[in-house]
Amino acid sequence: MSEVLAEIRAVSRHFEAPPALTDWLLRMAGRAKPKRRLQAVSDVSLQIARGEALGLVGESGCGKSTLGRMIAGILAPSQGEVFVEGKPVLAPSGRKLTTRVQMVFQDPFTSLNPRLRVGEQIGEGPLAHGLVARADLPTYISRWLGAVGLRPEHASRYPHQFSGGQRQRVAIARALAMQPAVLVCDEPVASLDVSVQAQIINLLLSLKRDLGLTMLFISHDLGVVRHLCDRIAVMYLGRIVEIGDAEAVCTSPRHPYTRALLGCRPRLNLDGAPQSTPPIVGELPSAFDPPAGCPFSSRCANVGSLCRDQAPSLRLNEPRRQVACYYPV
């Protein structure tokens, strides 16, 4: 069994509206209003092994980005802890303690500082953390630019002089230059054109192969995740509902939501005959007011009596597959 590089233990995160003057006044008058709380992530536990690419899939509002940020040390969990290489990622004060987990963001247009040269942005972190001596910095930067398919002379250019795909390469180089043990990618190809997406997916595949990169790949696109990842975790309303080997989850899903999600994907229809993709019924419940019990109970075709009472926890369905469902498919 491979060494576990990232461990996420019972992590939860909620958001509340920031305190407003009116709330304080109401409280003084004795008429405090209960605060609306958004439970973005509920009780998630994960392990990522060395060299593994774990895909985190879900639709908007499922909490995958929030979870990704907690793993990368950008956001502190409300409960639970995240460990990378056995050490906690965040101090109790909220300060990030380790550089061994880095993140690549979704939008290549805002994730780079428009006023700093690309080389400076790549070299800044490693220099500040002593990963490279100042004298060796130019060579170091060139090395990482080359690793993502760019040329050394690109280091002196500004972000606006690059295309979207190239900017994303720079963002990947910046993260890799910190030599992280775990790379968290938050929808890195979602904003790119189709032909450019394929280029970046190829890049990530080769980096995984050549550097033995350990990755958490967050996406709403099951197709991309299936192509890139070894294991897939499916999230719905802040909970992981299914986790298992990528191929297995995509060919034989066990959770009703996973099955519905797979069924919803528009497939390339070479026959041109209008295909009716079976949609899921209903709308996504508000994260402020999730259904009691299983989060998917309001839309599930298989819903049973147990489902509305208590949310099912992840349980072993078959070797290497866990499903949070009382009546798995």
């Binding site: 990030k96 880095q102 994730s111 780079l112 006023r115 800044e124």
Partner: protein, 288 residues
């Protein structure tokens, strides 16, 4: 955007270029006042009371030509205007610089710290902004007493709030962008993120507000001097000169007020025109 590109685009607006020329002329005149002015208006020994209230172009008791006439004390108006420009521009620039420094620091801090600190700082700024600048500076001057240094302090304190507001707005926007998140996530120390990442991206709106505020500071100082506050009558700024000549306006000796007035208006309008062009060019919509 480099200075070269900036200048090339600036050049295309002839009005702005003319305004810039006027501003530069005023600054040069102010700097070189001791050399250009035929008379030192502060040197009481060089002023001849018998030459008081002479019209423009007249010749004085010692044969010197008073280009723009003299005022009630016999001061050559041309020299007085040059020295007055010196004081006006100097005070406005100094007060503006101090205001920018105080305001930007507060705005940056508020945007970065968020939470209670942000609320406290910005409420203070809001409070300040609700008081008209002229009123604020008058109250401050009453507390500080007259003098150039006191005037600079009063103007700076009356103006910092605009910069704080602008900087807070810009910094808040940048703070929530992904590149700042990325920098903090490396993790890079907070001071470095604020100074090297957030601040440079907040400069364009700050520069625009600064140019506008300089014009406003010039006008503010002139108003205060006109009202007799701030500067002693022996070191007249443009506003004082206008005030001194006020009583003579209707008796035909218009030049004592009008020429300093023209100089003041020309200066303020030119600074505003330059500021307009700078603002249009730094418009974020045109930036990549």
């Amino acid at each position: 955007m480099t200075l070269g590109l900036f200048w090339r685009e600036f050049r295309r607006n002839t009005v702005a270029v003319a305004a810039l020329a006027v501003v530069l002329l005023a600054i040069t005149g102010a700097l070189l006042a001791p050399l250009l002015a035929p008379q030192n208006p502060y040197d009481l020994a060089s002023i001849d009371l018998s030459d008081a209230r002479r019209p423009p172009g007249s010749v004085g008791s010692e044969g010197q030509v008073y280009l723009l006439g003299t005022d009630a004390q016999g001061r050559d108006l041309f020299s007085a205007i040059l020295y007055g420009l010196r004081i006006s521009i100097g005070i406005a620039l100094l007060a503006g610089t101090v205001a920018v420094l105080i305001g930007s620091t507060l705005g940056l801090l508020a945007a970065f710290l968020r939470g209670i600190s942000e609320a406290a700082i910005m409420r203070l700024v809001d409070l300040q902004l609700s008081v008209p600048a002229i009123l604020m500076s008058m109250v401050l001057l009453a507390m500080f007493g007259p003098g150039q240094l006191q005037l600079v302090c009063a103007l700076a304190l009356a103006q910092y709030a605009y910069f704080a507001r602008t900087m807070h707005g810009a910094a808040s926007v940048e703070r929530s962008k992904a590149y700042v998140e990325a920098a903090l996530a490396t993790p890079l120390p907070a001071r470095r993120v604020v100074l090297r990442h957030i601040l440079p991206n907040c400069l364009p709106p700050l520069i625009v507000v600064a140019t506008m505020q300089i014009a406003s500071a010039i006008g503010l100082e002139a108003t205060l001097s006109f009202l007799g506050l701030g500067l002693p009558p022996t070191e007249p700024s443009l506003g004082t000169l206008i005030a001194n000549g006020y009583q003579f306006l209707l008796s035909g000796r218009y030049w004592i007020s009008i020429y300093p007035g023209i100089a003041l208006i020309t200066l303020i309008v030119s600074v505003n025109l330059v500021g307009d062009q700078v603002r249009d060019q730094l418009n974020p919509r045109l930036q990549r």
